[in-house]
């Protein structure tokens, strides 16, 4: 089990945002996407982030993976200001496997970039594909796979090179409800195996509570941290049966109210 009492400050966090702001020059003035956002992500933690649309979610993602730089504040990865993007695994919203590579070659792509020898790459990729029950599909091209299969491939690609931090952007968004439940459970198993730190961004509150150790709620634009909630549901969890859990139901209704406030606030300001 995870130690939930780790101090949230200092060198013990994998990732830390300190008063991070991001503003853009729009034609008619400046737009603030994120304001004074502070987050501290503990090692091995599964942090989920929810927010109304327009909460600066994509800005947050781009800052996390280094595609954009903050206008103010600091982002620290393992206590260092210079973010080594090679230590971060990223799972995008849409399945994003390269169509000209087989499933296995896709999983091996980040390993290739790290000059891992071929035999080793093969062993690692087949291991991971077996974990998500895709070993038999290793040599298929993405267009020959279902949406759920592709998304599983996407996830193990981000794990294959043992990153310090995995960032997931609504990875199950486009999938049907049944596949979603299946993949959520598989993701939790995988995470329990690997002990990796995960930041999981979603619009789906039940998903955020079901998966996370902590749920962070963002405000409507400009994005700020509205609240952070511990999810004291014991692990291993079975996502399929969580709706019977009273702690889960209680959190769902409380967070649902908070989110609704932000959604109506966002609606008024527009």
């Amino acid at each position: 089990m995870l130690d939930r009492d780790l101090p949230s400050q200092g060198g013990l966090s994998v990732l830390e945002f300190r008063q991070v702001s991001k503003t853009y020059d729009a034609g008619h003035g400046r737009v603030t996407a994120l304001k004074d956002l502070s987050i501290s992500v503990r090692p091995g933690e599964f942090l989920t982030v929810v927010g109304p649309s327009g909460c600066g979610k994509s800005t947050l993602l781009n800052l996390l993976v280094g595609l954009e730089q903050p206008s103010g504040g600091d982002i620290l990865l393992n206590g260092s200001r210079s973010i080594d993007r090679r230590r971060i695994g990223y799972v995008m919203q849409n399945d994003n496997l390269y169509p000209w590579r087989t499933l296995r070659e896709n999983v091996e792509f980040p390993l290739e970039l790290r000059n891992v020898p071929e035999a080793e790459r093969r062993r690692i990729s087949l291991d991971y594909l077996a974990k998500v029950h895709l070993r038999d599909f290793a040599d298929r091209y993405p267009h020959e796979l279902s949406g759920g299969m592709r998304q599983r491939g996407n996830i193990v690609r981000a794990l294959s090179f043992s990153p310090d931090l995995i960032i997931m952007d609504e990875p199950f968004g486009p999938l049907d409800a049944q596949t979603r439940l299946l993949l959520q459970n598989q993701l939790l198993e995988l995470w329990a195996d690997e002990g990796k730190t995960v930041i999981f961004i979603t619009h789906d509150l039940p998903e955020a509570i079901a998966l996370g150790d902590r749920v962070m709620v963002l405000t409507a634009r400009p994005g700020r941290v509205k609240s952070v909630h511990d999810v004291p549901i014991p692990r291993p969890r079975n996502v399929r049966h969580l709706h019977e859990d009273s702690v889960y139901r209680d959190l769902l209704s409380r967070l649902g109210d908070e989110l609704a406030e932000e959604i109506s606030a966002g609606g008024v300001s527009q």
Partner: protein
Amino acid sequence: MSVVTMEPKAAPVPRRLSRASKIRLARLVLVVALLALWELGSGRLFATFWVSKPSLIAVYLWDWIVSGDFFHHLAFTMGAMLSGFAAGTVLGLAAGMWLSRAPFAAEVLDPFLVAMNGIPRVALAPLFVVWFGIDMLPKIVLVFTLVFFVIFYNTYAGIRSVDRRFTDLAWVMGASETELFLKVILPAATPYIFLGIKLSIPYALIGAIIGEFVASSAGLGWKIQMETSLYNTTGTMAGLIVMMTIVVAMNAALNALEARLLSWRPEAREVRAQGPQA
């Protein structure tokens, strides 16, 4: 485009013809029907003098191949065509790769490229004779000016159309500029580039033949022109059939190569490419 239907991998009724064999059979029927119409109509519906007929052409071709200078002319035309094609492909690829990564230069050069590509190549042919003589060189240059632009524009468009998500993701995963280009951009653009190469084959032949029409001492174009000036339509038709065969054969070879290189592509997805204004 017709509707693409999925067919089961193992056909339940093995005796029925596959779609591919049906297409091949239909093509054969079409060829035979057209040749029969030509053969039987010639001399009855229209005078043989103007259109010749398949049996005469076959005999002419046979004599030409066995006793004549067929291979001399074929080698001349193919030599010009393939050299110009090779040079145009290599430099078109290089220019496309460079300009797609250099937006400033691309914008500066754009009107010049449009203007140069706009010149009808027939108008250039006499100038090339003045510059390069009447041997193979002016034909090679003419082929080059056609092929280059087809390959260049397709490579450029192909690289520019690579999905941002693909390149962003590779960057996040730690790809260097070189890796990004070789492992993501180039494979993603390959369907466009390949289509450009296929599109340029008929242009390569057009260039070689125009060059031979203007001034030459050999080649299929020169042969056709000579036969036409003698009102020998059988000889002209024989030359045309040889040219058609060249284009079809090269296209088939490239299709085979494409099937291997682009086996990852779902068949339903097709890339639209840009042709030249030649």
